[in-house]
């Protein structure tokens, strides 16, 4: 009988692995899991999310790190993108299109509108593709599926924070110190994130079953930008019916409130409150839908 002559190192390792696993004494008695078809009334299993909070962190960290890997400029892209858009907007919309910005310099106006808009649009885009993009993870291992879109949004937030240095730079350059209403900007930002998370998780869930959303989302985001006029122009005091319709878009008052809060302007209180309320409703609804379909992800994806 001939014994195996020399084991390849990988195999030797594998043997050691299994040995290790087998040797291990039960570490802690309290890993108890009950798997059963769940009641449909629980919208988010916060306990489960909390248990996996570190995974959320690592997934977000992964998304941040991977985003600008093997790029020469790295994280500078987070600044360059809004900066270039700002320049383009200033030239086309302001110089050529004669769109106004009140008494604020247009470039600063556009910058303060573009940053929250990019936060929203990037968050929705990234989140909507996140679950499908993590196909291998989803079909191989258990973890709260909600972490995937949440982590991708977390990475977008990091981009936003980096991008804010452009805004700070513009504020210093144009001589606009942050106003005393600054907290309002944060509230507006929170509401904006709620809307983004709601749309992102909903689209992520739908994308698993209908890959159509892969094409719908980029197109929809483009349309939405034009339907959110506050990004690139001052809202006129007098406007027609069509424009009023656009104001129903909750993003308009939220971005407006962000800018007004930051740079000191009249805050659209009604719109802000409505945006906040609709954000909460949308978030609960989106989580409920996600919850309902996440159990089938592994079967469908």
């Amino acid at each position: 009988m001939v014994e195996a002559v020399a084991e390849p190192p990988v195999e030797r390792k594998l043997v050691e692995v299994v040995e290790r696993i087998a040797r291990t004494a039960p570490a802690s008695a309290e890993h108890r899991v009950v798997i059963e078809p769940e009641s449909p009334w629980k919208i988010v299993d916060f306990g489960d999310l909390w248990r996996y909070r570190e995974l959320l962190f690592f997934l977000a960290l992964r998304d941040v790190k991977v985003r600008y890997k093997q790029t020469a400029l790295g994280a500078a892209w987070a600044i360059l993108q809004p900066a270039m858009l700002m320049v383009i907007f200033t030239y086309f919309f302001h110089r050529m299109g004669k769109l106004g910005s009140g008494d604020m310099p247009y470039s600063l106006f556009a910058c303060a509108g573009l940053l929250p808009w990019l936060l929203y649009s990037q968050a929705v885009t990234q989140a909507s593709n996140s679950v499908v993009g993590s196909e291998r993870l989803v079909s191989k291992i258990y973890f709260p599926r909600l972490l995937v879109p949440l982590a991708s949004i977390g990475a977008v937030i990091v981009d936003f924070i980096v991008g804010c240095s452009l805004l700070v730079f513009m504020m210093i350059w144009k001589g606009y110190p942050p106003s005393a209403q600054f907290p309002v900007a944060l509230v507006a930002l929170a509401a904006l994130l709620m809307h983004a998370t709601a749309a992102g998780t909903l689209l992520a869930a739908l994308n698993v079953r209908y890959r159509d959303f892969r094409y719908v989302v980029p197109f929809g985001i483009q349309l939405l930008m034009f339907a959110t006029p506050t990004i690139y122009m001052e809202l006129p005091a007098e406007h027609g019916k069509f424009f009023t319709l656009l104001l129903l878009n909750p993003l308009t008052p939220l971005i407006d409130a962000f800018r007004a809060g930051l740079l000191g302007d009249d805050i659209p209180w009604v719109g802000l409150c409505m945006g906040l309320a609709s954000g909460v409703v949308a978030l609960v609804a989106a989580f409920a839908v996600f919850r309902k379909v996440e159990d089938t992800f592994a079967d469908v994806i």
Partner: protein
């Protein structure tokens, strides 16, 4: 009394099979169209024609005590993989309940979540937390993991630049340090070849009192027999038997059509084949030393093929038999041409017997390939004519075999008419 490590109760998993060529991806348009058309279809009484319910698991119930090693056996499609998916929480059951007391680790998810762009260091943290380790745990074990994987020098290199060996080592190093209390292994999905798996599992058995509960899904009866104290036999989504391994395997092998009992004929008339010559294989059977013995390692083996020779068969026939292991690696080959030429078969049915006096095969499942042809080409080729099971003998130690041991080239070849029952005519 201790709580069972795994308790499965009335478990059921229903899938809907759509009978459409399109498969599972539906575009929104199709769904909308289906939805719009559904009421009309119902009016016509056609509902249910497109979808069929399929229970991959039904009323599955069993318990595993801490420290037990339990084998899950069953044919393809019996629900083994679905059961593992439910147990590792990848998919939710439709009915029933599973209770897991202990941290679950599975060797089917090794390397899952590795991101090629990230460095080794980053991937250890990411993968560790995906597998359920806390950050502190990973911090504590980090050096150990890295030393284990032998990738110290490449910690800050993206893993996409790793060699595949380094990649697998790192992935396994992370999995190894998870220290699960319940280990789920799917042999088909596990990395490594048969011998390696066998070795791993052998080691696992040696440390039986470690307290680690193991659930092993395997197609290799020999492995299950060697390693598992208990076995659960799944058949069509239900538990067919759940008892000591020996009992379950006996029942399983006795189940008709699973494996051919020694000496039993396997009908080849409807087998998948290539070649259109006048000589066709009719049936095949296999046995060990005598027609009632199963083949054993180091024992002799007889493979008998029943051939039907039509008009126009050549006088220069050659018959070949090959054995291949579960990974389709050829382990034995014998050609009538080498010992007996030229071969001429009488018209009608003939028995052809290959007798291999000592076949050093490791315990496991082997596929038999048969071909008959002449100088012009093949008459009939059946690549999966028969599956044979080489069982470990009681005296034999399971550790002795490497994946493939030496195969003797010495064999005998005989041709005899069908009618002659026991008398064997050798050359």
């Amino acid at each position: 009394m201790r709580r069972p490590a795994i308790r499965v109760d009335g478990l059921g998993k229903k899938y809907k099979i759509t009978h459409e060529a399109r498969g599972r991806y539906k575009t929104l348009r199709e769904s909308v169209m289906d939805l719009a058309a559904a009421p009309f279809r119902r009016l016509k009484g056609e509902s249910g024609t497109t979808q069929e319910e399929f229970w991959a698991l039904k009323d599955v119930a069993f318990e595993v005590q801490p420290g037990e090693v339990v084998g899950i056996i069953g044919r393809n499609g019996a629900g083994k993989s679905t059961l593992l998916k439910v147990l590792s929480r990848i998919t939710k059951p439709t009915t029933g309940r599973v209770e897991l007391n202990g941290r679950v680790g599975s060797l089917l998810e090794v390397g899952t979540g590795f991101h090629p762009e990230l460095t080794g260091r980053e991937n250890v943290y990411l993968n560790g937390s995906i597998l359920g380790m806390t950050r502190r745990e990973i911090d504590r074990k980090f050096d150990e993991i890295v030393a284990f994987a032998e990738v110290e020098k490449f910690l800050d290199t993206p893993v996409k630049r790793y060699s595949s060996g380094m990649y697998v080592r790192l992935a396994f190093a992370v999995a190894a340090h998870l220290e699960p209390e319940i280990l789920i292994i799917d042999e088909v999905l596990a990395v490594g070849d048969a011998s390696f798996q066998k070795k791993c599992l052998g080691k696992m058995r040696e440390s039986a009192d470690s307290g680690c509960t193991v659930l092993l899904v395997s197609h290799q009866m020999a492995n299950v027999r060697d390693l598992c104290g208990k076995a659960v036999w799944l058949s069509e989504g239900r538990v067919r038997a759940n008892a000591s391994t020996a009992m379950v395997i006996d029942e399983y092998t006795a189940d008709s059509g699973v494996r051919n009992a020694p000496g039993e004929w396997s009908d080849l008339r409807h087998a998948l084949r290539t070649g259109t010559g006048p000589v066709r294989f009719r049936a095949v059977s296999c046995y060990g030393a005598t027609p009632s013995d199963p083949p054993v390692p180091d024992g002799s083996m007889n493979i008998i093929a029943r051939l039907d020779s039509g008009v126009g068969a050549s006088r220069d026939l050659r018959i070949e038999v090959r054995l291949a292991d579960q990974f389709h690696t050829r382990v034995f080959q014998a050609n009538s041409f080498e010992v007996w030429r030229p071969l001429e078969l009488p018209q009608g049915e003939t028995l052809v017997q290959f007798s291999i006096d000592q076949l050093h095969l490791a315990p496991g499942t082997y596929g038999v390939y048969l071909s008959v042809g002449d100088a012009e080409g093949y008459h009939d080729v059946i690549s999966d004519a028969l599956r044979i099971e080489v069982l470990p003998t009681r005296e034999s130690e399971p550790q002795r075999w490497s994946e493939l041991s030496l195969v003797t080239r010495s064999f005998d070849f005989a041709v005899r008419p069908v009618e002659v029952g026991s008398a064997s005519i050798i050359q």
